[in-house]
Symmetry: C2
Subunit: 199 residues, 2 copies
DNA sequence: CGTCTATTTGAATGTACTCAAAAGCGGTGG
DNA sequence: CCACCGCTTTTGAGTACATTCAAATAGACG
């Protein structure tokens, strides 16, 4: 590990240790199985229809995961910013072709791991099972909450909630991407913004 | 374990062993930490605003998880039938008040476990970490797929997809519950059914 | 058989969409 | 540094999809 990469791994270690405490040896083992990857703005981490070979921890930057439908419309499933993960779990775990793309919307630094190495990691450091269990549980909770919100809130309410829930994301992405995430058109979102927020 | 409960636990064991192989001793340990629970039709496993104290494996019957919004409208997040799970993970793990209810829509037999016992289980049988990791991953994949579907398909397409994806659920629940799950009104679903399914 | 709830049907309304065009904003090259 | 080009956001008008309200019909259950 070179000196230049220290900050990268320091963030990653803190991320892991929020869930599982690690010895220096364990962390060295873990980080040896991850690979640093850089993406420029507009580069793809994954293209819809390809196999997702990596799960990626985001060190810095921002990516969007989106499905392109039969009519060519994009629908954003997720934004991934620093200290979170990006990937298509279904494709990654089941070796199926991915049903969405993941694209950098800012320059991105990632720590990636493939399935083979992840399985090695589970074998060598069993408590890493717990790490991904907790990570999956958290993602599941957030995703379930989003379904409830989509079912029970109006478009305006979903927009206001997005702004308060993810202010750090909302501040750095174009409106049309927020619209896509919320399931509305950018034109309609623009109209919603004209109206003042109700209490 | 009484003879009468054998079929109950046999199904549960097969469920676990699809993910983690178990010795008889291990399975005895696991099942000793679960409690059988019966619910009549329309009984609640969890009421919105209460704490979710149990995660429950469904041995038989069917339940619906639904959020009731400010206007008193219900929105179904999930159906749980035999060989699947029911519970509010967020409330269960984080000890927060639940934002949805879980109600039996048929007589139900469950195997329930509370947080304390689950933690004991993780400690005594570490590979149970893997079981819940895989379970969470599968649930996350399904939930993410549902978000993509909700964003990119029309109401009619979502309905047709529901019928083909969950024929065993669709066959036994009232239409209004399917409408609630799909995020449309029962009146509108009824109109959709009039139109023949397009190819 | 009667009661309660679910489903269907029709009509009027509202929410969100498409289409079209103008205005704003950011990046790039001369 | 400014001018231009392309993309994003806004605005307005007309339309389509999904809703509410109301009432009739059909099914389920005691």
């Amino acid at each position: 590990m070179t000196t230049a990469l220290q900050p990268t791994y320091a963030l990653f270690r803190r991320h892991l240790e929020r869930i599982i405490p690690l010895t220096d040896d364990e962390f060295a083992c873990i980080s040896s199985l991850f690979t640093v990857k850089n993406l420029k703005k507009r580069q793809f981490l994954l293209q819809q229809g390809d196999m997702c070979k990596y799960e990626s921890y985001v060190v810095s930057g921002c990516l969007k995961s989106y499905h392109t439908d039969r009519e060519g419309q994009d629908h954003i499933l997720q934004f991934s910013i620093e200290d979170w993960w990006a990937g298509d779990l279904k494709s990654f775990l089941r070796k199926e072709l991915s049903s969405f793309s993941i694209e950098a919307i800012e320059p991105v630094v990632l720590l990636t791991i493939d399935k083979q190495r992840l399985d090695r990691l589970y074998a060598e450091i069993p408590k890493f099972e717990k790490f991904f269990r907790v990570l999956s549980e958290n993602a599941l909770i957030a995703t379930s909450q989003r379904i409830i919100n989509n079912l029970s809130l109006s478009a305006k309410e979903r927009y206001d909630l997005f702004l308060t829930t993810y202010p750090r994301i909302a501040a750095r992405i174009p409106l049309k991407d927020i619209a896509s995430y919320l399931g509305i058109t950018p034109v309609f979102l623009s109209q919603l913004r004209r109206e003042p927020t109700q209490v």
